[in-house]
């Protein structure tokens, strides 16, 4: 293989590029990324970067020497507009094409917006450093009232960061108890209580009926319950959609992301997909899944790099999905694939102390582990996932 083009120069793309070099690929490596910056870390954007604890200088994913060592051609600020497998080429938005015998699709995902909100000042999405800079600027202008639509992890973390900044913060979600589907009722309840204890106003089980504006800037959020939440800044955090539009006509099998086998190989063996955009077959579940977690991207990168160089699936992604979240000074860590009927037991610490580990057990097997402020026990417990559960 002479040339590999990596499309998307963020966590998944950069990690795959590093892995390719680590296993001996010494050909031409081209990294194409829409954003102007060298790869940087997104998780701090909703946490320390918003509160001012971190700056843009803290975010690069590697030292300059590591970027240099990659000996890659960087096409930053450039968007790939098409993948043409018959010519083995990636077409760029400036009309050039990059010919490549191997392609890594690592274009990530974009936040969904609420229809009709484009161009209204004060309404934000959060994915990129540019998004975070705009949001931070708005949050530090005066003492704005903040409404957050969507209480997933991004919404919850932004709510916590806004409280750290001392701002009047309302968190809105259509479900009665956000995260219950993932964590179960009890621990979703703990997350909700953490918000109220830290002064976040919760409006759960409420739909947004209208965003009020003064013509150019948002002034409030009208809810289905009839309530009007006054707001100067609104963050919309209602999930993401994988960036696959540019792959129309590529011949790749697409669905919710790029469909891959268990080794991140797409329907074209010269193309692998990694990170938030990849919908990877999970033999343990018998279905495909797209995982929007940091560590999934880095773990898939190693597998994908090996399979791409061999044009064959010789390795499968082994990892158990894992993510962390930091809210109100509490570190939440979760690993595994739970289901609502799983039996949940606290095995270390106490829920009221906000320091515990809980096991999720199905048919005698440990299937997931949740920890709050208990990284040590979590690091050990998570390795037991998939094994018979030890009685507490």
């Amino acid at each position: 293989m002479d040339t590999i083009a990596v499309v998307g120069a963020s966590l998944a793309g950069f990690s795959t590029a590093q892995q390719l070099r680590a296993i001996g690929f010494d050909g031409r490596l081209v990294l194409i990324g829409s954003e102007a910056q060298l790869p940087y870390d997104r998780p701090p954007l909703s946490k320390g970067f918003l509160t001012g604890e971190l700056t843009a200088d803290d975010l690069p994913l590697a030292e300059q020497t590591d970027f240099d060592e990659l000996a890659a051609e960087w096409e930053l600020g450039r968007t790939a507009v098409a993948l043409r497998p018959e010519q083995a080429a990636v077409e760029l938005d400036d009309g050039r094409t990059i010919e490549a015998d191997g392609v890594v699709v690592a274009t990530g995902a974009s936040p969904r917006s609420l229809p009709g909100t484009e161009g209204i000042a004060g309404i934000h999405l959060l994915r990129s450093l540019a998004d975070a800079e705009r949001l931070r600027a708005d949050l530090s202008t005066g003492s704005p009232r903040v409404a957050i639509i969507g209480a997933g992890f991004i919404g919850a973390e932004v709510a916590a960061s806004c409280r750290t900044l001392g701002l009047d913060t309302t968190l809105i979600d259509t479900t009665e108890l956000p995260l219950a589907g993932l964590l179960g009722d009890e621990f979703a309840g703990v997350c909700a209580r953490m918000h109220t204890e830290h002064g976040v106003q919760l409006r759960y089980g409420a739909k947004v009926s209208e965003l009020r504006t003064d013509g150019s800037r948002v002034t409030g959020v009208a809810l289905s319950t009839g309530e009007l939440i006054d707001a100067d800044v609104v963050l919309v955090g209602i999930g993401v959609a994988p960036n696959i539009d540019w792959l129309a006509g590529s011949g790749l099998a697409l669905g919710d992301g790029v469909l891959c086998d268990s080794g991140c190989v797409t329907s074209n063996p010269a193309v692998v997909a990694v990170g938030d955009v990849a919908n990877v077959y999970r033999p343990d579940r018998g279905t495909r899944a797209r995982t929007e977690h940091w560590t999934s991207a880095t773990q898939q990168a190693a597998t994908a790099a090996g399979n791409l160089l061999l044009s064959n699936t010789t390795q499968e992604v082994q990892s158990v999905p894992y993510f962390w979240s930091d809210q109100h000074g509490v570190r939440i860590q979760f690993a595994g694939t739970p289901q609502p009927a799983d039996e949940i037991t606290v095995v270390d610490g106490a829920v009221d102390d906000r320091r515990f580990v809980a096991n999720y057990v199905r048919d005698g097997q440990l299937v997931a582990v949740l920890a709050l402020n208990n990284p040590r026990a979590f690091a050990r417990a998570r390795r037991a996932i998939g094994r018979p559960a030890v009685a507490a």
Binding site: L11, L61, E63, D66, Y322, W324, P375, F378
Partner: protein, 106 residues
């Protein structure tokens, strides 16, 4: 030199943490003892909470791996090494010579 604890107080695969100029973690990697700075070079996580595999410790937060012999990270997101410290064992006690400290004291 700091006397940390007795060798039998750290089981294989386990660690203890003590405070010097910064917190330091001592690991028992299959009978060999290693001491490194406890705070991950990436962000705020305590490596003594991490999982030990051979001579590598995995950061409990974002899973960077550090080689306990050299302090070098072997994968993202850690970019910088952590300091390593000399360990000696005498009469069943573990002693750590904290890097840089003896010069300061002298």
């Amino acid at each position: 030199m700091i006397a940390v604890c007795r060798t039998d107080e750290i089981a294989t695969g386990e660690s203890v943490k003590f405070d010097a100029d910064v917190p330091i973690a001592v690991f028992n990697a299959d009978g060999e003892f290693y001491a490194v700075d406890d705070t991950c070079s990436h962000q705020d996580a305590s490596l003594s909470d991490g999982f030990l595999e051979g001579c590598y410790v995995e950061c409990p937060l974002h899973a960077a791996l550090f080689d306990l012999r050299t302090g070098m990270p072997s994968c993202l997101p850690a970019k910088r090494p952590i300091r390593t410290h000399m360990v000696s064992v005498e009469d069943g006690w573990i002693y750590v010579n904290v890097a840089g400290q003896s010069e300061e004291v002298a």
